[in-house]
């Protein structure tokens, strides 16, 4: 996957296992992808498909007690994030890689002012003085479109609305000029009109700052509007990865195809009945021995039950992990 040497983030064969009372849960199974400078990579999948866990594993946010993270390498900025010390990782988090979480209320500390929380990474990571950090914080709040920035620094999170809090979170993630921004469902908790504001803001920030972004979401509409490439996850694996237009025009994996058909739209023709994907997403108590989608797949045949499909390249930058070929309607010849 890493034919492009210039990738800012290069992940190879990442695996995450959680030790639970009921046994080991294999949440991420051999995930490999890369992120090019300045691109926006969309990650879609249902809850439990491993999209958040993948990203959190990369930067060691899962803690070491219950989660075991292994892999070939996670290359970022000349380091392998799987091998570096906790202190180095700490320096990367926030400074090299910014993170925006889904719920802006629970990820801001309610007992500190927004200004304090914005200045904290600036002083810790960038070694700024208090005054310098303060003026940078004002600059950041203005950047994300918060009016009266100077005054709002002394406000507490509860004094901001949901959309404004998410802007603060984005400002915080951007504070140390990260090379990579990981946004984990940043608009899911927001209303559509506020979501539209945040999407517009992100597009603008990308033009201005040019960092690479990983955008995790389950909303294909959001992805269609902002992503350059899309990675579809299922059962802790990447089942399809393609440039955005190609993914929507020529989806290969049965799961991607079904996902695209289940979403109703507010425009265009209206279907009488919604297409459904029967069944439930799997919980993997062992590394996949068969295709994890086979139980819900309409096209599954015997090979899908005996082997786990590897990702194969079908076009430039487009790969899919499936034995079935939508073109012929039969098995894919390799």
């Amino acid at each position: 996957m890493s034919e492009n040497g210039a990738a800012v983030l290069d992940v190879k064969d990442l695996r995450t296992v959680f030790e639970t009372g009921q046994g080991a849960i294999h949440a991420v199974n051999s995930v490999s992808f890369d992120l090019k400078p300045g691109e926006l990579l969309g990650v879609v999948g249902e809850s439990g498909s491993g999209k958040s866990v993948t990203m959190m594993s990369l930067i060691g946010l899962l803690g070491t007690t219950a989660a075991i993270v292994e892999g070939a390498h996670v290359n970022f900025d000349g380091m392998d994030l799987l091998k570096v010390s906790e202190d180095d990782l700490r320096a990367v988090r926030g400074a090299g890689i910014g993170f925006v979480f889904q719920d802006p209320m629970t990820s801001l500390n309610p007992v500190f002012t927004v200004g304090f929380q914005l200045m904290e990474p600036l002083r810790n990571h960038m070694g700024m003085s208090k005054a310098a950090a303060r003026s940078r914080a004002v600059e950041l709040l203005e950047l994300v479109g918060i009016a009266d920035a100077e005054k709002r620094l002394s406000d507490y999170p509860h004094q901001f609305s949901g959309g404004m809090r998410q802007r603060v979170m984005i400002a915080m993630a951007l504070s140390c000029d990260p090379k990579v921004l990981i946004a984990d469902e940043p608009t899911t908790a927001l209303d559509v009109t506020i979501q539209a504001q945040i999407l517009e803001l992100m597009k603008e920030l990308r033009r201005k700052l040019g960092m690479a972004i990983v955008w995790i979401t389950h909303d294909l509409g959001v992805i269609a509007g902002i992503a350059d490439r899309v990675m579809v996850m299922y059962g802790g694996q990447i089942v399809e990865l393609a440039p955005v237009i190609q993914l929507f025009e020529n989806p290969q994996h049965p799961y991607t195809r079904a996902l695209l058909q289940t979403v109703p739209s507010v425009r265009g023709s209206r279907t009488e009945r919604l297409r459904v994907i029967e069944g439930q997403p799997p919980i993997l108590f062992s590394p996949p021995q068969k295709c994890s989608y086979s139980a819900r797949c309409n096209h599954a045949f015997d090979r899908c039950l005996s082997a786990d499909p590897k990702r194969i390249r079908i076009a430039d930058g487009h790969d899919v992990a499936c034995f079935w070929d939508p073109e012929t309607g039969g098995p894919r010849d390799e």
Binding site: E46, S47, S161, G162, G163, M164, D191, V192, T193, I194, Q195, A196, Q197, L199, E200, H218, D219, L220, G221, V222, I223, A224, G225, A227, V244, I245, F248, E249, A258, L259, L260, T262, V263, P264, S265, V266, R267, R270, T271, R273, L274, R275, V276, I277, E278, Q280, P281
Partner: protein, 345 residues
């Protein structure tokens, strides 16, 4: 408000639900949160009325008030010919079998210490005198109707997935053969692929039992799928109410237009070409609503009149109601110019 013959099943007139705010050491009454402020609507038999709006616009409060889960501040509610706006608790209890509710969070609305059979059977215990075996038979019927395996009857809610839990909630709502069900964001807590399963189930049940739904949701695309008519709420008021296709193809109120424009299109080519209306700012607090039109603080078309006079909620076309000064009187008079306006995005 209905165009079909006969009485609508649910008639709401001038419904207000204000929550008082008390402050200071003497807990003086200092104001009201006007969660629902003067809404009127009809729901016809076996139709689905979608109620959409952003969080905090009062749609859930409206749904609960219509079922008299609150003591309403003002207005009248008639369900199936009975005025329920002022009846006492005991009488209301006897009316409950006719009207039921499906809640948003299936985790929070099911008692974790009761089995599935216990949960679905509870309304039967409360309202009917059935023998144990008759009751179990009815529970099995309901489980079949919502697609739950009968062998799950003795399990507890935590053993089920979100979609299955929502099915339990639906079976419970159906237990007493209701006519009218308020669905309060029934799919918001579910995954995309599971949402479609539950929506299809709700549609099947509607056909099978002739149910009437008030479907409350913030998901405009799902409402387009399930609803026959749609009402759009903003800050405690209905700003537009129209048949589904009318509303989605020719929204008249600037808020509806902005709301629909904000929904991203799951198609990268069309999405790139589309022009968005981006609203600025946030929804004002319902305890301190603006003077004049509620939407005037965010409306791209607001003029002086909007900040002074509250627009009347009136019929501008057959079955199409809206509350905006600029609709129907000035430039948008008939269907043609509006349709023309839709062509240039």
């Amino acid at each position: 408000m209905s165009d079909t013959g006969g009485q609508p099943l649910v008639q709401v007139r001038g419904l207000k639900m204000h929550f008082p705010i008390y402050a200071g050491i003497f807990r003086r009454h200092v104001g009201d949160i006007k969660a629902v402020d003067d809404i009127s609507l009809d729901i016809n038999e076996s139709e689905t009325l979608g109620l959409v709006g952003e969080s905090g616009c009062g749609k859930s409060t409206a749904g609960r008030a219509v079922l008299r889960l609150y003591d309403i501040t003002d207005g009248s509610i008639t369900v199936d010919g009975t005025d329920i706006s002022d009846v006492d608790k005991e009488k209301l209890r006897h009316l409950r079998p006719k009207m039921q509710m499906i809640f948003q969070d299936p985790q929070a609305s099911l008692n974790p210490r009761m089995t599935v059979a216990g949960i679905i059977g509870e309304p039967l215990v409360e309202h009917m005198s059935l023998s144990r075996s008759e009751r179990l038979e009815r529970v099995y019927q309901l489980m079949d109707a919502v697609g739950l395996n009968r062998s799950f009857a003795d399990r507890y809610p935590h053993e089920f997935s979100g979609g299955q839990r929502q099915r339990i909630g639906i079976a419970r709502a159906l237990a007493l053969n209701p006519k009218f069900i308020v669905c309060d964001e029934p799919i918001a807590a579910l995954d995309v692929s599971i949402q479609a399963q539950v929506v299809n189930l709700l549609e099947d049940l509607q056909e099978q039992f002739g149910l009437t739904y008030l479907f409350i949701s913030h998901d405009l695309s799902m409402v387009r799928h399930i609803a026959d008519r749609v009402a759009v709420m903003y800050l405690g008021k209905i700003v537009e109410l129209a048949p589904r296709d009318d509303l989605y193809e020719r929204p008249l109120h600037p808020y509806t237009q902005a709301l629909l424009s904000a929904v991203p299109e799951p198609d990268p080519v069309r999405e790139a070409e589309r022009k968005h209306i981006i609203l600025t700012g946030d929804v004002p607090s319902p305890s301190n609503a603006p003077i004049g039109c509620n939407f005037c603080t965010r409306c791209p078309r607001a003029e002086q009149i909007c900040r002074e006079i509250e627009p009347e909620f009136r019929q501008v076309e057959k079955g199409h109601y809206t509350a905006c000064h600029f609709v129907g009187d000035t430039e948008i008079k008939t269907a043609e110019p509006t349709a023309g306006e839709r062509v240039k995005p």
